[in-house]
């Protein structure tokens, strides 16, 4: 399992993540699988909160998403989720949409990288 030279490294600070999981590569794979499972649910919940113009729910969901991404050392996307959280706190709809658009752009590449990484290492 070559974690250090994958496309995933574009998104994930692999050294930091490996340190966090105490070099347990099996756990790391388990976490990525959890991400695959949970991320679409959170992303859909976030979009749905934005569509319903519910800034409190947007803030809350963006906060959870930010935490998940930070735990996986997906630093840039985590900062983008934080921007959505901050924008939601201001209640400014235009700022929320702008922050969401940036996050959406980033997440497409991230999801694809996680998918191909998992597919590549699975027997």
């Amino acid at each position: 399992m070559n974690l250090e030279h994958s496309a995933l490294e574009q998104y994930v600070d692999m050294a930091e993540l490996l340190h966090r999981v105490e070099d347990d590569r099996e756990l790391l794979m388990e976490l990525l699988a959890l991400f695959q499972e949970d991320f679409p649910r959170l992303r859909d919940a976030l979009h749905s909160a934005v569509d319903s113009k519910d800034p409190i729910q947007v803030e809350r969901t963006a906060h959870t998403l930010k935490g998940m991404l930070a735990n996986l050392s997906v630093k840039h996307a985590s900062r983008l989720a934080a921007n959505v959280e901050i924008a939601a706190r201001t209640g400014d709809a235009r700022r929320i949409l702008e922050a969401m658009a940036e996050l959406d752009r980033e997440e497409q590449g991230l999801v694809a990288a996680v998918e191909s990484f998992i597919a590549g290492v699975e027997p």
């Binding site: 340190h19 999981v21 105490e22 347990d24 756990l27 959890l34 935490g67 998940m68 735990n71």
Partner: protein
């Protein structure tokens, strides 16, 4: 050591669970604040917790407040683990009752070190509580016989007399004195005398019910408070105490010794408003009468024969 982790975010929950289990913790993982509070408020629940801030049902600070309000027996070491990193969040989190505040994403080394700090504090509390309990026991018990000491048995007797008058139930008092105990000391020495006193304590405790009280009143005098004791059974119970002492010889380091006890018995009555001192004087007179009548017997105080306590 049990530890509770509460987080509605699966990745965080899984990393924490794995790291903590690897370090010997018994992990209870929940995904909302209400469940976390339920576990932590349970007197047998975990005493160490990692709480996320933003959670369904109840947020982390609310869990801290709930735990601090409801559970006071033993300290629960609460760590807020959150990505909220603003100064005002940290202050609010600690003010809510958290002992420690850690910011996500966490460093596993730091997390483990912070938890060890928590364990040290809990251990310190355990030691203090144990020392307090030890002191409480020593302050209320006689070290030789392990019975209640004079101060404590008198306090309990006063409380039971008040309760008898208030709740209209009946108690009885027995004052026992080992017969010819001085002879035991003079013949076998004080070490054997102490052995006899210790064995007397054990036999007295074995002859009463769990809700009766037995105390060492003086050198070889013992005061027994028999709760819920009606006149019909009073003398049978007193005889049971007497025969517990004389029923078989005491085994001592100097061989078996026959020991007997004389007992003054007083049946309490809810209408008896006499102060404690007078009640004790009367039971003491009954004890004296038992001695005068030849020892190794129970003698009922005169007021017990006049007042018939109600049946219970």
């Amino acid at each position: 050591m049990k530890i509770l982790i509460a987080d509605d975010e699966e990745v965080s929950l899984r990393i924490l669970q794995k790291i903590l289990e690897r370090n010997g913790y018994e992990v209870i993982a929940v995904r909302d604040g209400r469940k976390a509070a339920e576990h932590l408020c349970d007197p047998d629940g975990p005493r160490l917790a990692l709480l996320d801030w933003v959670m369904p049902q109840l947020d982390g600070p609310s869990v801290c407040r709930t735990v601090r309000r409801k559970r006071s027996q033993r300290h629960v070491y609460l760590v807020l683990l959150t990505s909220k990193s603003a100064k005002e969040d940290i202050i609010e989190g600690l003010e809510s009752g958290a002992d420690e505040y850690l910011i996500k994403p966490f460093d596993p080394g730091e997390l483990k070190a912070r938890l060890r700090t928590g364990l040290r504090i809990l251990e310190l509390e355990d030691n203090l509580l144990e020392a307090r309990e030890d002191m409480r026991y020593k302050a209320t018990h006689d070290s030789l016989t392990a019975l209640l000491n004079r101060g404590t048995i008198l306090e309990l007797l006063a409380a039971e007399l008040n309760r008898e008058r208030r709740d209209n139930h009946s108690i009885a008092i027995a004052l026992g004195d080992l017969d010819h105990f001085k002879l035991v000391n003079d013949t076998y020495g004080h070490v054997v005398g102490d052995e006899v006193l210790a064995e007397t304590g054990r036999r007295l405790l074995g002859s009463v019910r769990s809700y009766d009280f037995v105390g060492r009143y003086g050198g070889e005098e013992f005061l027994i408070v028999l709760n819920n004791c009606c006149s019909d059974t009073l003398m049978d119970r007193a005889e049971k105490i007497r025969t517990a002492i004389c029923g078989s010889p005491f085994r001592t380091s100097q061989g078996p010794i026959s020991v007997t006890v004389s007992l003054g018995i007083l049946a309490g009555h809810p209408t008896d408003k006499r102060p404690l001192e007078e009640v004790l004087c009367e039971v003491d007179r009954a004890l004296y009468a038992a001695k005068s009548a030849g020892r190794n017997r129970c003698c009922l105080a005169p007021s017990s024969q006049r007042n018939t306590p109600p049946e219970t």
